[in-house]
C-alpha cells in the first residue's frame, strides 16, 4: 500500500517537473501572430546556428526571440519565485494561510509603482519603484517586529499592519492621480507579462535565480524550521540566521518578480498546497515541485491570457480566475489542509 503511494507520488512529481518544459515549448507557439512550428524551431536554432537567420522573416525571428522568449522566461521565473516564496514562508511561519505577500511586500511594491507612474516620470520606472518599496516594506516589518526575536505571530501581525499602512499610502496616491495616470496604475496592479523584454529581465532574472537557488539549498532546513524552535536548536540549527536567510531570499524573489510582472495573486498560496496534496509535506520536495508547478501555472495562465480573446487580459486576473476554483475543488476533494 505504502509502496503504491510512494510510486504514485513519484510519478506525479515527474509529471510536475516535466510540465513546465512541455508548456514552455507549447507556449512558444501561442500568440496572435501565426508562426509555423518549423519557423519557431529555426528562430530558436538561429541563436546557435547563424545560417538559420536568413531562413525566417525578421519579424518572425524578433517575435520568437525578443517577445515570446523573454515573456515565457519571465513567466517561468516569476511563477517559480512566487510559488517557492509562498511555500518557504508557509513552512517558516507554520501557517498554511501565509502567502508570498504576507510581509507587506505587495502593498509596498504597489505603492512604489504608483509613486513612479503618478509622480516621478520616466527617470524612475515602475519596476524600480516596485522593487525598492517591496524591500522597504519587508524591512519595516522586520524592524518593527524586533529583528526576528519576536514571535512569528507578532511578525505576521506587523506584516498586516505595514500592508495596511502602504495600502493607505497607495490610496492617497490614487486619490491625487490624474485620470490618465490612474489608468496606467490600475493596469500595473492587475499584473502583466506582455511588455517584458530582455532589458526588464537583465536584473530581475539573476535576482530570482539567486533567491531560488538559496531557498533550494535551504529546503531541508525548512523542515527543521517548521518544528518547534527548541527542537530546531537542539538539532544544531541557528534558527535566527536561517529565518533571516529564508525571509531575505523569499523577499528578494517576490520583489524581483513583482517589480517586472506586477501583482500576481494567489500563486504562492495555491501552488504549495497543490504540491503538498500531490507529493506530501517534505520541504525537500515541496520547494522544487512548487517551483515547477508555479512556473507551469503562470505559463498556462499567460498562454490563456494571450490566446482566448483579442485583448491582452492582465494575467493577475487569470491566475485568480483559474487558480481559485481549481484550488477549492482539490481542497474539497482532499478534505484536509496540508502543511
Amino acid at each position: 500500500m505504502k509502496e503504491n503511494r510512494r510510486k504514485r507520488r513519484a510519478a506525479l512529481a515527474a509529471v510536475i517537473v516535466a510540465l513546465p518544459i512541455i508548456l514552455f515549448f507549447v507556449s512558444l507557439n501561442v500568440g496572435s501572430y501565426p508562426i509555423p512550428l518549423r519557423d519557431v524551431g529555426k528562430s530558436l536554432l538561429s541563436l546557435v546556428v547563424p545560417s538559420f537567420r536568413s531562413e525566417v522573416p525578421p519579424a518572425v525571428r524578433d517575435i520568437i526571440l525578443l517577445i515570446r522568449l523573454p515573456r515565457l522566461l519571465l513567466a517561468v521565473a516569476a511563477g517559480a519565485s512566487l510559488a517557492v516564496s509562498g511555500a518557504a514562508l508557509q513552512a517558516l511561519f507554520k501557517n498554511p494561510l501565509v502567502n508570498e505577500y504576507i510581509l507587506g511586500l505587495s502593498s509596498g511594491s504597489a505603492f512604489g509603482a504608483a509613486l513612479s507612474l503618478v509622480f516621478l516620470g520616466r527617470a524612475f520606472p515602475p519596476q524600480a519603484g516596485a522593487f525598492l518599496f517591496a524591500v522597504v516594506a519587508v524591512l519595516a516589518v522586520l524592524l518593527m517586529a524586533g529583528r526576528l526575536e519576536a514571535s512569528l505571530v507578532s511578525l505576521l501581525l506587523t506584516g498586516v499592519i505595514v500592508s495596511a499602512f502602504f495600502s493607505a499610502l497607495l490610496m492617497l496616491v490614487e486619490f491625487l492621480a490624474s485620470p490618465y495616470a490612474l489608468q496606467s496604475l490600475f493596469y500595473w496592479l492587475m499584473g502583466n507579462l506582455s511588455l517584458a523584454g530582455w532589458g526588464d529581465l537583465a536584473l530581475s532574472l539573476p535576482l530570482m535565480a539567486a533567491g531560488l537557488a538559496l531557498l533550494f539549498l535551504l529546503r531541508w532546513r525548512l523542515n527543521v524550521l517548521s518544528m518547534n524552535e527548541e527542537e530546531a536548536r537542539a538539532m544544531g540549527v541557528d534558527v535566527r540566521r536561517e529565518k533571516w536567510l529564508v525571509i531575505l531570499a523569499a523577499t528578494l524573489i517576490t520583489a524581483a518578480a513583482t517589480s517586472v510582472a506586477g501583482i500576481i495573486g494567489w500563486l504562492g498560496l495555491i501552488v504549495p498546497h497543490l504540491v503538498r496534496m500531490a507529493a506530501g509535506v517534505d520541504n525537500r520536495s515541496v520547494i522544487p515541485l512548487s517551483a515547477a508547478l508555479g512556473a507551469s501555472f503562470l505559463l498556462a495562465a499567460d498562454a490563456a491570457a494571450r490566446s482566448l480573446t483579442s485583448i491582452e487580459i492582465p494575467i493577475g486576473i487569470f491566475t485568480s480566475l483559474i487558480g481559485i476554483p481549481v484550488f477549492l475543488a482539490l481542497l474539497n476533494k482532499s478534505k484536509k489542509v496540508w502543511l
Binding site: 496572435s32 501572430y33 525578443l66 507612474l117 520616466r122 480573446t309 485583448i311 491582452e312
Partner: protein, 352 residues
C-alpha cells in the same frame, strides 16, 4: 417628441441621445448623453462645469464669464485652460480628484446649471437630487458628431445659439476641406496607422476619428474596448508586428516630461525594428484626448495628421498659421497654437 427632434436636427448622434427639445413656458427640456431628461431654466447666468470638454466649449462660446466653478482635472492638470481663458484659472475646483462633487461648495457657488461628465453616471443624479440644481451630463464620446452636438446644445442652453452655429460651421468647413482633398484616395491606399495612447505602447483607441478624417486607417478600429464605456483597448506587441503599421502615432497631449512612451523609446525598441513605421522612422506624436477633447485642438490635430499622411497634397497648408487661426476662431486669442506648441514642445509640423 422624438420625431420632432429628428426633423429639427437631421444629424442625430446616437450616443448623444439628445432626443428632445421642448419649450415649456421659458424652460428647455433636454436629454443628455446619459439619456436623462433635464429641465433647464431659460436664463442661465451662473454655470458650474465639472466636465473639462464642456468648460472649453463654454469658453469658445464666449460664456466663460458665467462660469462659477470648474472640476479637479481642469484645476490641477489642464495646461490648456490658462491659454484659452485665463479667467478659468481663478475659479474654485468643485470636485474631488475622484470626480466626487463638493456639495457644500456647489451650494455656496449657487449655479443655475451644472454640467457633469457622463463617465461617472451616478454623479449626475446624485448631484441633482442633493442640490435641486439641474445637472446635464454631456460629452463628445470621442466623435466629431458628438462634439458638434455638444457645442450646439451647450449654445442652446446658454442662449449662444448663433455663436455655436458659427463654430460648428467653421469646424465642418475646415474638416470638409481636408476630406475633399483626400476624397479620391481609395481605402486600400490610405496609410495603416497604429495609435499608442494613455501612457502605454500597447493601449490603443478602437476608434479615433481624427485619423479617419485625415485619411488614415486606424488598425485597431472595431476591436472590443477593454475599458467598458471608453474607447481604449489593450493589444499585444505581436499583434502590432502582425499589423505592420506604416505610421505610429503616440499620445502627445502630455507635457514632455510626463510622456511615458516617447518617439525615441519606440524607435530604439529592438522588438519593433521590423515594423515598417519604425524602419521608415514614421513615428510621431499626435495630440489625442485630454480628458475628452478641446474643440480647437482636435481640429488642428486633424489638419496636422492630414499633412503627415499626405505631405504632397497638403504641402500648401501652413500648419502653424492655420492652427493659430483655429485658436483665434474658437477662443479669440492670438498665437494660441504657438503658446501651446512651446508648452508641449510641438514644432510647426508633424513632430517627433
Amino acid at each position: 417628441m422624438r420625431g420632432r427632434a429628428g426633423r429639427l436636427f437631421p444629424l442625430p448622434w446616437p450616443l448623444f441621445l439628445l432626443l428632445a427639445l421642448q419649450l415649456i413656458g421659458q424652460e428647455l427640456t433636454v436629454k443628455d448623453t446619459l439619456g436623462r431628461t433635464v429641465v433647464v431654466p431659460a436664463r442661465v447666468s451662473r454655470v458650474l462645469s465639472l466636465q473639462p470638454e464642456i468648460t472649453r466649449i463654454i469658453a469658445a462660446l464666449g460664456a466663460d464669464d458665467r462660469l462659477v466653478g470648474r472640476d479637479d482635472f481642469i484645476a490641477r492638470f489642464d495646461y490648456l485652460s490658462s491659454i484659452i481663458s485665463p479667467r478659468l484659472s481663478q475659479l474654485p475646483a468643485a470636485s474631488a480628484p475622484d470626480g466626487t462633487p463638493d456639495l457644500e461648495l456647489v451650494m455656496r457657488l449657487n449655479p443655475d446649471l451644472i454640467f457633469a461628465s457622463p463617465s461617472e453616471a451616478s454623479i449626475s443624479d446624485y448631484l441633482q437630487s442633493k442640490t435641486g440644481i439641474p445637472v446635464l451630463a454631456f460629452a463628445s464620446m470621442g466623435r466629431f458628431s458628438g462634439l458638434l452636438e455638444e457645442i450646439r446644445w451647450t449654445g442652446a442652453v446658454l442662449g449662444r445659439k448663433d455663436r455655436a452655429d458659427e463654430l460648428i460651421g467653421y469646424f465642418r468647413q475646415t474638416l470638409g476641406r481636408v476630406q475633399k482633398a483626400i476624397a479620391d484616395i481609395p481605402a486600400g491606399r490610405r496609410p495603416r496607422v497604429y495609435l499608442s495612447f494613455w501612457s502605454s505602447f500597447t493601449r490603443t483607441p478602437v476608434f479615433y476619428e481624427p485619423v479617419n478624417a485625415a485619411g488614415g486607417r486606424n488598425l485597431a478600429e472595431g476591436l472590443m474596448p477593454a475599458y467598458l464605456g471608453t474607447l481604449g483597448t489593450e493589444v499585444s506587441l505581436e499583434k502590432i508586428l502582425g499589423w505592420d503599421p506604416e505610421v505610429i502615432l503616440l499620445h502627445g497631449s502630455y507635457l514632455p516630461a510626463e510622456r511615458k512612451v516617447t518617439t525615441s523609446s519606440v524607435l530604439d525598441d529592438p522588438r519593433l525594428r521590423s515594423v515598417r513605421a519604425v524602419r521608415d522612422k514614421r513615428v510621431y506624436y499626435t495630440l489625442g484626448f485630454w480628458y475628452w477633447w478641446d474643440p480647437a485642438l482636435v481640429l488642428v490635430e486633424t489638419l496636422m495628421l492630414a499633412k503627415l499622411f499626405y505631405p504632397q497634397r497638403f504641402r500648401a497648408l501652413d500648419l502653424r498659421s492655420e492652427a493659430n487661426a483655429v485658436f483665434k476662431t474658437f477662443y479669440g486669442i492670438e498665437g494660441g497654437f504657438d503658446t501651446l506648441g512651446r508648452l508641449l514642445d510641438i514644432p510647426d509640423r508633424p513632430w517627433r
